[in-house]
């Protein structure tokens, strides 16, 4: 079982304020919260800002459910890189007697996992994962490639924490670029700058930095350092609660990782295609805004309210 990471004093206090103000609703499980009306207003407002910023590139909009065939997780090597974060869906597959036993144990809050079998589904850990096979199925890409706006899907990471900014289930607003290596690298850099501006426009002190994913174990250290050495991942950081700024958006240049798994190629003499994605953590951005401007939306600075269309 993943170890619970308690929040520090400031994070714990911020979480309590959010719960008291009914911006978040406690579920009894750390990192899993309902969201109050004002919280959702802010989340949707920022989501709208991303749509506006993306519209100039005329992306194709696709939407996927927050569950993913487990085959996808297997083929992209997720269990090698992040076995500790993956969530798998199990369901009951037994007879009536076993159903009765299961119910008895469940009623007494005992362990009923022995009656559960793994299904063909996992919880989606990153909103861009369903995009690559969907594009691959169309065949070779025309010059310039594609840009897909995968919307704001729920994603799951098993990392229970007392920090309200570290949720187990949250919305990732993800945009994916697939095309020639140069096209993709330029796109990522342009969006990194555009995203910093976007966050600053709503009053957040946003800055970007080179980052790495939380790869698992010793082999993960090699992957993480390699990712940093090649500057394949950037994050935009904003102060929420706690000692250090929190990443609220990330930009990942996967090079040919996904295109080689799914056989995505350019329809050209040089067939190499690369991918990159950017993801906004919508709950983290909402939390950053609440932390920066206060828990009462009506009291936010007028320019910020106008920028977000909050009236």
């Amino acid at each position: 079982m993943a170890e619970f990471r308690p929040g520090d004093a400031e994070q714990t206090a911020f979480l309590e304020q959010l719960l008291d103000a009914r911006l978040l609703i406690d579920s009894g499980v750390p990192g899993v919260y309902g969201r109050g009306e004002d919280f959702e207003r802010v989340r949707w407002a920022f989501d709208g800002k991303v749509s506006e910023a993306a519209a100039v590139d005329e992306p194709e909009r696709l939407a996927f459910p927050p569950v993913l065939p487990k085959r996808r997780i297997e083929e992209i090597g997720y269990l090698k890189s992040f076995p500790h974060l993956a969530g798998t869906i199990f369901c009951f597959e037994g007879d009536e007697e076993q159903a009765t036993e299961q119910e008895g144990k469940a009623e007494r809050h005992e362990d009923w996992s022995e009656y559960q079998s793994q299904t063909e589904l996992c919880l989606t850990p990153a909103a861009c994962y369903p995009v690559y096979p969907a594009i691959a199925a169309r065949g070779k890409l025309a010059a310039g490639g594609v840009m897909v706006d995968a919307g704001g899907s729920y994603v799951f990471r098993h990392e229970p924490s007392g920090d309200p900014a570290r949720l187990q289930i949250f919305h990732q607003r993800e945009i994916v670029r697939i095309g020639e290596p140069d096209t993709v690298a330029e796109w990522r850099d342009a969006w990194r700058d555009r995203s910093v501006e976007l966050l600053r426009s709503v009053g957040l002190d946003a800055n970007f930095d080179v980052a790495n994913d939380p790869f698992f174990g010793r082999t993960g250290r090699l992957l993480a350092r390699s990712q940093r050495a090649q500057a394949l991942k950037f994050e935009i950081l904003v102060q929420i609660a706690g000692p250090e700024p929190t990443a609220v958006a990330s930009f990942n240049y996967h090079q040919d990782h996904f295109t080689s798994v799914y056989g995505i190629e350019m329809d050209a003499e040089e067939t190499t295609a690369h991918t990159a994605c950017l993801g906004f953590g919508l709950e983290r951005i909402t939390l950053a805004l609440l932390h920066e401007h206060g828990l009462e939306l009506d009291a936010w600075p007028a320019p910020v309210r106008t920028e977000l269309g909050l009236g």
């Binding site: 010793r218 082999t219 090699l222 990712q227 050495a229």
Partner: protein
């Protein structure tokens, strides 16, 4: 030792060229080895030589060439 390193890279490095066409100092990443493949090379080297790389060695530059791998292995006591 270098022959054994080359055999590991051949099996796990997913190079786009034959390792025999590369010199000991040539860049394996340039030759097509991805970061994920370098992890497989690392694990296979630990199995082959029955060693464990030091934490400080778990970085991209150590797995960059046959020579750099060989230098790291020597450092942790693998005879040349």
């Amino acid at each position: 030792m270098k022959d054994e390193i080359r055999q590991v890279v051949r099996e796990h490095g997913h190079l786009s060229v034959d390792i025999d066409s590369l010199g000991d100092g040539d860049d394996l990443y340039q030759a097509g080895m991805t970061s994920h493949a370098s992890v497989n090379v690392m694990i296979a080297l630990e199995d082959t030589f029955d060693i464990e790389f030091l934490d400080s060695m778990l970085k991209r530059s150590v797995f960059e060439s046959v020579s750099s791998i060989s230098a790291a292995l020597s450092e942790i006591g693998v005879p040349a």
